[in-house]
Symmetry: C2
Subunit: 345 residues, 2 copies
Amino acid sequence: MFDNSEKTDIKELGEFGLIAHLTQSVQLTQASSIKGIGDDAAVLNFEGKKTLISTDLLLENVHFDLRYVPLKHLGYKAVQVNLSDIYAMNGTASQITFSIGMSSKFPLEAVEEIYEGALLACNKYNIDLIGGDTSASHQGLVLSVTSIGYADEADITYRSGAKEGDLLCVSGDLGGAYVGLQLLEREKQIFLENPKIQPDLEGKDYIIERQLKPDARGDVVELLRQLDIKPNAMIDVSDGLASEILHIAKASNVGCTIYEDKIPLDPMTYDTAREFGLDPTICALSGGEDYELLFTIPQSDYDKVKNQLDITVIGHMTEGSAGCQMISKSGKVHPLQAQGWNAFK
Amino acid sequence: MFDNSEKTDIKELGEFGLIAHLTQSVQLTQASSIKGIGDDAAVLNFEGKKTLISTDLLLENVHFDLRYVPLKHLGYKAVQVNLSDIYAMNGTASQITFSIGMSSKFPLEAVEEIYEGALLACNKYNIDLIGGDTSASHQGLVLSVTSIGYADEADITYRSGAKEGDLLCVSGDLGGAYVGLQLLEREKQIFLENPKIQPDLEGKDYIIERQLKPDARGDVVELLRQLDIKPNAMIDVSDGLASEILHIAKASNVGCTIYEDKIPLDPMTYDTAREFGLDPTICALSGGEDYELLFTIPQSDYDKVKNQLDITVIGHMTEGSAGCQMISKSGKVHPLQAQGWNAFK
C-alpha cells in the first residue's frame, strides 16, 4: 500500500526518537488528562465518575489485510472500534493508548500514516492520546489500543440490565461492513490475478467506508441523553446482530424476539449482498463489524424513539425460557445462532 | 517449550469459549473494581484518587524467545514489567488487562500456562484482571498488557520533579537481568548445536530469575511510604541505568553525577559478567530489564535511607548545564550515554 522509495528508515530514529517524532503534535484537551505521554504512566482524574476501560488487539492478516486497507484508515478504525466499547457502556470516551509493533523495514512515513489516522479518530471525538508502546515486530503489523472513558455510576449500561418487555433497538443500519469486505476481497482477487486491472468500487463508497472507516456511535449516546433515555442494556455490534442479542439475553437472563422486516439495511448493502448471492439478513445477523449500538429500553420510552431516523426498534425482550428467535418475512420462526467471527478457524 | 501430544485444540473452543475457559477462575478483590471481564468495558471506581494507566506490547523474538522462556514465566514477566510503570509513579497498581494473540495451532494448555503465570503475578500484588482480548495470530505470539492504578495527586512522582542537590537512589541491584540473558543465549546456542547437551545453569538461579521472572518493586513503594519519603522524581529501570538517569535529568532540567563504586551489583552478576568478558558496570548502565526503581530524594531524607539494605544512594543531581556523568573507580569522569535497547536495530 505504500511506496518504499525515498523513505525514512526507522532504525535511524530508534524507539525514543520514533515516539518523540510521532507524538510531537499530540495535545491534551480533556480536563481529565493530567499527564499524557512522557512518563512511566499517564495520570487521569475522573473525580466522582467511574472509570471505563476496554482494550483490543489487531493483527495483520487476521483483522486487516494491508493489500486493501489504507494505513490511515487502519489507524482510524483501530481507534473507533475501541471507542465503540466505551460508548456501549453509555460512557464518555476520553483517552486512548495506542501501541504499534511493526517491521523495522517499515518506513517512518508508513507509521506516520497509521498514526495520522489514529489522531484523526481522536480529534473527531475529542479524545486524548495519552500513551502507548512502539516496538519492532519480526512478523506482521500489530496494533493494540486501550480506550478509557468515564460515566456516572447511574448512567452505566451493562449487558445484563435488559428486562422482559423491553424494546430492542439498534442504531444506524447493519450488514454494510460485511458486504463491503466481500467487495474488497473480490477486487483483491482480481488484482492478484491481473495487477493491471484497477479496482472497480465506483458507487460503492458507503459500504466500503462501513468496512474501512467505521465511526463509533458516540453521537447515539449523546442523542439518547438528549432524549432522556437510559437504556436498560447496551452492547456494540462487533460480531453480528445475532451474537450480540445472545450476549444481552444470556447476561440478562431474558429471551428475545426480533422481526426480519424490521432489521435496518441500507439499499446498497441489500443490492450488493444480492449481487454476491448472499442473504442480506444473514449479513446483518452474522456479518459483524458494523459498530452500531444495540440496546433495550422500557416500552414507556417508545414515543421518544419512534420518530428518530437513526434508531430502529427491531423486536422485544421476552421471558428467559422463550429463547431468542427471529420471525422471518414469511412468518417463520428461526432460532438465533451466534455465527460470530472465530479468528481461530 | 511444550509437548504438543494430547493437547486441546483452541479452534474447537472459539474465541468466546477460550475467554470463558481462561477467565473462569478470575476473581475481583480490589474495592475499585466494579465490573471486570464480561461486558464491553470494565468499570472502575477511584473515588478521590487519580487514575494511572500504562501499556506494553511484547512480541515473540523481539522481547522474548520461546526456546528458553517458559510460558508461565512469560505471562508472569509480562504483567510485572507493566506493573513496574505504575509503581514508578509511586502509585498503587490495582488492575490489568491482558491480551494474547497466538497461532490457532497453539494448544489450549500452552495458553493456560501463560495465563497462569499472569494470574500468579496478579495474585502476588492483589491485582484484578479486568479484561483483555484474545486473537489468532498468523505470525508469532503477541502479548499486550495495560496496567491501571491510582494515587493521591500529592503522592505522584513524575520524572520531571528532580531538584539540584537531590540524592539519586536505586532499589535492589542492577545488571543481573542482562547477564542472565547472556547465559540463556549461550545455552541456547549450545543446545542448537547439540540438542543432547542439557543446559548448564546450575548455581545461576538468581540472575536467571532476574531475567525470566522479575518482580516489580511494589514493596519498595510501600517501604518509601513507611519511611515517610516522597521521592521528587522516580522511574523504573527498564532500558538500563544510564538511559533512565538521562530521562530524569532531561525531564527535570538538572544534571547528575553518579559514582561507579556505588552501583549495586550482586556478586553473581559481577562474576558471571566477568566470565563473559563483560564489564559489570556496563551491564548495569546499559543492560536494562532490571525493573528496579530509580528515584531522587532531598538530602534531608538521607538518614531515612542510609540503613536500608534495599536502597542505595549512587549519586546526586547537579545543575542542568553540568550534564550527566559517572566518576569511575579510578576517579575518571565518563559522560553517561543512553545505549538503551533499540528494538528496531
